[in-house]
Symmetry: C2
Amino acid sequence: MRPTPRQQVRRSKERARYETAAIHAVLDAGFLAHVGFSIEGQPFVIPMLYARDGEEVLLHGSIASRLMRGLAEGIPACLSVSHVDGLVLARSHFHHSVNYRSVVCFGTARSVDDPAEKAAALARFVDAILPGRAAESRPSDRNELAATLLLRFVIEDASAKVREGGPRDDPADLGTDYWAGVVPLQTRYAAAVSADDCTLPLPPSVVRVCPEAR
Amino acid sequence: MRPTPRQQVRRSKERARYETAAIHAVLDAGFLAHVGFSIEGQPFVIPMLYARDGEEVLLHGSIASRLMRGLAEGIPACLSVSHVDGLVLARSHFHHSVNYRSVVCFGTARSVDDPAEKAAALARFVDAILPGRAAESRPSDRNELAATLLLRFVIEDASAKVREGGPRDDPADLGTDYWAGVVPLQTRYAAAVSADDCTLPLPPSVVRVCPEAR
């Protein structure tokens, strides 16, 4: 597929990816997006939890949120997800960088009003944060569904950008006394902390990611 | 200080912070921002490295970037930084959440053309990624400075939002068989990887964050 003008990566083209699988892989590796749109000429970039559902991205918020209601009107929006994988320490300031995976999606959102679809989507959000967790907690009731604004962000086009590997130094800087390399960054779970009023054992979803409790 | 309308946090007001120290603390804890602006009605949200400099935020990119040049024209922009600190697993789907620290800054950017100021700013970027690293690598030369577009994003107003602590469950859900608690998320450095063509020992900036090499 040929990229459309707004999605086309112009800088560092060798890092660009347009295949659906590459875009989905970056989306599926996270649960926090930064969603941008303008209201009355003022741009907003709001951090939001998300869950991918096929070619769409689910977003949710309170029915009382003016920004969510604005988004729901179908204004042009941009959804961005980034993961930083390491520090790239080059011999020159100029070539310092980070290793990362990011996607930028262009599209519009529409609200979902069907209660069954909303309930299913909220369960997807819970599983997007921690796989298997939805089955271990109470599904939303009618009042909770009514208080939730659920949006389907339809991806019209998107691009991913990936940088990996070591520093790309200028030939003239090789062999100098400056160390160069990568410091990988890892995100990991620490020991789970039970709620003060909870004496139950850790559930399977938690044990899978952090067996150690405290 | 009374928040202005665009910065005022309307949802979950108890999580909002407007003090400068709180906003700076969130900015200083990271180096990746999501910057949003509109060009010809199309919103863009672009991940960018940043470094705070007093009340301003430094951004940089290639002089050839159309988006950077657009930003440099002083169009309204929004800069957002978020850190996720843990998964909040409640007894109900509805109360699932994450612990986080985020800031949303509104303002405009202007380009910095003075070479000495650009060189100093690029050194700040390197130290923002890893403290002490700028002194361990070659400063930018004249060609590198000319190829770099450096922006000062002036924060006109900003707000921070912080969620911490355990799940806030409905009273009716307490005492059910659903486990509730928090799974903290930690970002840490893994063992540094020297560049293929580098046999020097790890420098102090790297040893400070990851003593173990591989």
